[in-house]
């Protein structure tokens, strides 16, 4: 076998075998996901649901000021797309200070928050289509007071 054929054979063999392991791995409990991109499993739309499950499509952040005023903090105000906004909400719920700093930096000057609420607008899935459930508060994240410079 020539050197060229050996290189090509290695490329074909490694690519197909590794992709096959990732593809069929879940049968044996091996879930590699997208860690080794571009070797990925193609699990898009693979979750199964049952009637009455909720589509938790959107979590909105709402800030509460010292005077009790409520301010919506949508993804647009943070310059984020939906999936990264979702990640930011997750990071806020995990108390990551970088996430909180990012939210606070996006606020107009002079606004000081005491708390951030994570709100959800769940929609129930029924055989005849969606049924909206109204909004619920999933989490409340306290905002530490700024240290005074005086």
């Amino acid at each position: 076998m020539s050197f060229y054929r050996a290189i090509v054979s290695a490329f074909i063999g490694i690519s197909l075998v590794f992709q096959a392991i990732i593809a069929l791995g879940p049968i044996g409990g091996l879930n590699i996901g997208t860690k080794f991109w571009p070797f990925v499993n193609y699990a898009m739309y693979s979750r199964s649901f049952k009637e009455g499950d909720f589509v938790d499509y959107y979590r909105l952040l709402e800030g509460i000021t010292r005077s009790g005023e409520r301010i919506e903090i949508p993804m647009e105000s943070l310059g984020l797309h939906l999936w990264h906004y979702r990640d930011l909400v997750r990071d806020l719920e995990r108390q990551r200070p970088e996430a909180l700093d990012l939210v606070l930096a996006s606020l107009p000057p002079g606004i000081e928050l005491v708390e951030i609420e994570v709100k959800s607008f769940p929609v129930a899935v029924t055989r005849s289509g969606p049924v909206e459930q109204g909004s619920i508060v999933l989490d409340r994240i306290p905002v530490p007071a700024k240290e005074s410079s005086e």
Binding site: Y4, F11, S15, I22, I27, W37, D53, H84, P130
Partner: protein
């Protein structure tokens, strides 16, 4: 052992039509250049605007740059982007084809991996990376390229395209065969993921209703909202999806099935696009690897000549 090596060689390194490979090169590189401008560029700009704490370089970047992958500057990303695009143009026209394709494949992988280093990973691009590397390793510029034109000028002093469709080479078949094999693995992965996560219950009608409703609310899609109301239709669609994805590999062993699977797959991806807004243009374009284009064109040409002589 020798027998196995011979079988391997006879399968992968059988002579293939160079025109078919060149066509795959032109279509896939052309599409990737378009996607670079229409999708990758805005995605790169968006990625550069994201907070640095989200940046987790993907494994492929860490392999390519083992001494650390700091968050790149906007200038370096822009330089890599335009170099990638330039080599894409070279690859499209077949200038220094093998080198251009290798650089194009490598830099596309780097750019896409950077975009995906902020936590959000999607599925359409991965197979394109493999296809570009396969094209780089194969004789993709043997015909229909500037390289071929320059070679012909050297040999005969003028352009010679006689027999373009009939030129064969032992290395011209495997990149196409490779992509043909890669596709069934992707579809098998999709069906295995569904069945291992939720079992056959995935096809209960509700699962697709859920994704339609998600799409309807996420992107204000009236079409998805409308379709989400048809429980039994979606249940039927789920069974079709499972059957299609589980059996697509049959196309490798019974090539005539492509006349069923390819139109079905095309419809499948177009429906996903219009309802769930999940674009897979790379996958649709890559279906061309299942068609022996040179044979089809030759057959059509002979038929036309036959008609002309008989009249």
């Amino acid at each position: 052992m020798t027998d196995l090596v011979n079988k391997w060689s006879n399968y992968w390194f059988r002579p293939g039509r160079c025109f078919d490979l060149a066509l795959v090169r032109i279509v896939l590189v052309g599409l990737q250049c378009y996607l670079l401008l229409s999708y990758s560029f805005p995605s790169l700009m968006y990625a550069l605007s994201l907070p640095e704490y989200l940046y987790q370089p993907r494994v492929v970047l860490r392999v390519l740059m083992p001494f650390g992958v700091p968050m790149p500057s906007e200038t370096s990303v822009l330089v890599i982007f335009w170099v990638t695009f330039l080599f894409g143009i070279f690859s499209f026209f077949g200038f220094l084809t093998r080198l251009s394709l290798a650089v194009f494949a490598l830099l596309n992988t780097v750019l896409q991996a950077f975009i995906y280093s902020f936590g959000d990973v999607h599925h359409p691009e991965a197979v394109m990376m493999f296809a570009l590397f396969a094209l780089a390793l194969g004789p993709s510029g043997r015909v229909a390229s500037i390289d071929a034109w320059l070679r012909a000028r050297k040999q005969t002093g003028n352009e010679n395209s006689v027999g373009l469709l009939e030129i064969e080479e032992p290395g011209a078949a495997w990149p196409i065969l490779f992509i043909q094999w890669f596709f069934p693995l992707m579809y098998l992965s999709a069906v295995v993921s569904k069945l291992t996560r939720g079992g056959i219950e995935w096809a209960n009608g509700i699962s697709l209703q859920y994704f339609m409703i998600l799409e309807a609310y996420k992107n204000d899609s009236d079409l998805a909202l409308f379709v989400s109301q048809f429980h039994y239709f979606l249940k039927f669609a789920e069974y079709i999806v499972l059957a299609f994805q589980a059996s697509f590999f049959l196309i490798l062993f019974f090539p005539r099935l492509k006349w069923i699977y390819l139109p079905l797959g095309l419809i499948f991806h177009l429906i996903i696009y219009v309802t769930l807004r999940a674009p897979f243009p790379q996958w649709i374009a890559m279906y061309i690897v299942y068609i022996p284009w040179s044979l089809v064109i030759l057959w059509l040409a002979r038929k036309r000549v036959g008609l002309a002589t008989s009249s």
